[in-house]
C-alpha cells in the first residue's frame, strides 16, 4: 500500500504542476461569468441558475481535466517511455496502476471540489441556501469521476496511442450518459445481431445516468433513500473493481518495446 501511495503522490504532483489546471481556472471563470449573466436575466431564479450551471460546470471541468490528464500522462509514460524505469523498480504493475488511478482521482476531486467551493461562495453572496440533495449530487459526481478515472487509466493500458485513449474515454462519457436511450433502442430491436451488439454495449458501458443527481435536485418528488445510496455505491465499487482488474491484466500482458 505504501508503494501505491508513493505512485499516487508522484502522479498527483505531476498533474497539478502541469498546465492542465489552467483549463480548470478558465472553466471556473467562464461558469461564474455565465452564471452571473444568466442570473441577471432570470428575474428571481438566480439561485437555481447558479446551482445548475455550477454543478454542470464542475462535472464538465472534471471531464476535461481527466481527458487532458490522460493525454499528458500517456505522452510521458508510454510515448516517452517514463514507465520503463518505474516498472523496473520493486513495484507490481497492479500497485503502479492503482497509484496512477488514485493520483488522477485526487486531481479530479480537487477540480470538482474547487468548482463547488466557488459555487457555494456565489450562492452565499446572493444570500441563498443550498438546495437539499446538493451535497449528495456533488458526492455522486465524485463517484462518477472515480469510475471514469478507472476506465480512462484502463484504456491507457490497452490503447496504443494517446488519441485513442482520449477518444475511448470521451465516447464512454457520451454513451454512458445515453445509457437510457441505448436501453430503449435495445427493447425496440428485433434483429439478433444488433440486439446482441446493443446488449454488449449496454452492459459494458458505465451507467453514468445513475450518478446524475444534479439535474433533479429541484425536483420536488425526488426522494433519495438508503436503497438508492446502496445501489450507487455498490455499482461504483463493483464496476471500478472489474475495470481495474481488466486494466491490471492488460498491463501485466503488455509488452514495452
Amino acid at each position: 500500500m505504501k508503494r501505491v501511495l508513493t505512485v499516487a503522490v508522484f502522479t498527483f504532483r505531476e498533474l497539478i504542476r502541469s498546465n492542465i489546471l489552467i483549463v480548470w481556472v478558465c472553466s471556473v471563470i467562464g461558469i461564474c461569468g455565465l452564471s452571473y449573466l444568466l442570473s441577471i436575466l432570470s428575474y428571481g431564479d438566480a439561485l437555481k441558475i447558479f446551482t445548475d450551471l455550477g454543478l454542470a460546470g464542475a462535472e464538465l471541468a472534471g471531464w476535461m481535466v481527466l481527458l487532458l490528464s490522460l493525454a499528458v500522462s500517456y505522452n510521458t509514460e508510454m510515448d516517452q517511455k517514463a514507465i520503463f524505469l518505474q516498472l523496473a523498480k520493486p513495484v507490481s504493475r497492479g500497485e503502479y496502476l492503482l497509484g496512477r488511478v488514485f493520483g488522477f482521482f485526487t486531481m479530479n476531486l480537487l477540480v470538482i471540489l474547487g468548482t463547488v467551493a466557488v459555487l457555494v461562495f456565489m450562492v452565499l453572496v446572493v444570500n441563498g441556501s443550498m438546495p437539499s440533495y446538493f451535497w449528495s449530487s456533488v458526492f455522486f459526481m465524485v463517484l462518477e469521476m472515480l469510475v471514469l478515472t478507472f476506465l480512462g487509466l484502463t484504456y491507457q493500458m490497452i490503447a496504443t496511442s494517446m488519441v485513442r485513449v482520449v477518444l475511448y474515454t470521451f465516447f464512454t462519457i457520451i454513451l454512458g450518459r445515453l445509457i437510457d436511450e441505448i436501453q430503449w433502442l435495445l427493447e425496440k430491436q428485433h434483429a439478433p445481431i444488433l440486439k446482441f451488439i446493443l446488449t454488449l454495449v449496454y452492459y459494458c458501458l458505465p451507467n453514468l445516468d445513475l450518478f446524475n443527481l444534479k439535474d433533479r435536485i429541484y425536483d420536488p418528488t425526488l426522494v433519495l433513500g438508503w436503497t438508492q445510496w446502496q445501489e450507487v455505491l455498490i455499482y461504483t465499487f463493483a464496476y471500478s473493481a472489474v475495470v481495474f482488474i481488466i486494466g491490471w491484466i492488460s498491463l501485466e500482458k503488455r509488452e514495452f518495446r
Binding site: 508503494r3 508522484f10 504532483r13 510521458t76 524505469l85 509488452e255
Partner: protein, 286 residues
Amino acid sequence: MLDVYENQAFGLLGLNGAGKTTILKVILGFIHPDAGTVRILNGKIADQSVRNQIGYLSELPYFSRQHTGRELLEYFGALHGLGGKTLKSRVDEVLELVRMTKPAKDKVSGYSKGMLQRIGIGQALIGKPRLLICDEPMSGLDPVGYKEMRDIFLDLKKTGTTLFLNTHILDEVERVCDRIGIIHEGVLKDVAPISKVLGSSLPVDYWIDVDKSEASKLSQLPFRESIHKNGGVQIPGLVLNETLALLNSRGAKVLGVRPLSSVVEAYFLNAIGKPIDSFASHRGES
C-alpha cells in the same frame, strides 16, 4: 546460453539493431521471450525482491518534466521501500556520487542530456543494487561526463556490484568489463573474458606518419593498405616492425605511429564475420 557472473562487469556488444536492447528488455520483463527463460539473482524478474536488488538505466532516460532531480530520486527511492531519514541521506549520497547536488533542486525540464543521464544513473543506484543494468550508459555524455561515468562503474565494481552494460563504445568495454558478449543479428556470437580478447593476435591496422618530403618512399612499401599524399601510410599490425625497419633503412623519418583500431574492435569485427581487412579500404585517404 548467456551467463553473467556475480561481482563482474559484463559488456554486451553489438551493432545498432543487433538485439542488445531487446535482450535487456527480456531480462527486465518488458518483453516476453518467444522461448527460453531468464534467471536473475537466483529468482525471476517478476519477483519484487529480485527487482529490489536491480538498478536499471535505459538509453536516454525520460522523466516527468514537472519534478526536480531530488524529487525523482526520492520517488524512486521510495519505490525501493526507503523512507524518512534513510531516504534523504541516500538521495544526498547518490546526488553527490553523480555530481548533481547543486542542480537537484531544479526541475528536470531544464536539464541537459548529460544531466538527465546522471539523474538516470542516480535513480538506478538509489536502491544500492547488487546488479546494475545499463543500456548505452554513455549516450549523450560529454568527455568529462564520459570519464565520470566510467569512474562510477569502476567504483561500483570495487564495491562488488555486478554490471551489465549494453554498449557499442569499445573503449568503455575495454576499460570496465571483465567479460564481453557479442551479439549480431539477434544471435549471440561469442562470450569471452576481456583478457582473452586483449590477448588475441588479431590483426590491428596502424598508421605511420612520415615527413611530407619523403612521402614518395611510402609507395615502395610492400604491405601498404592506403597512403596519404601528405606522408602517412596504413599498414597491417603484423608487419609493423618490418615496415618500420624498412623505412629506417631507406632513411625515411618516422614522425609517429598510432593504432587505427583496438584489439577489442578487431575481435568484435571478427566475431560478427566482418574482419578488419574488409574495412581497411574505408580508412585513411589515398
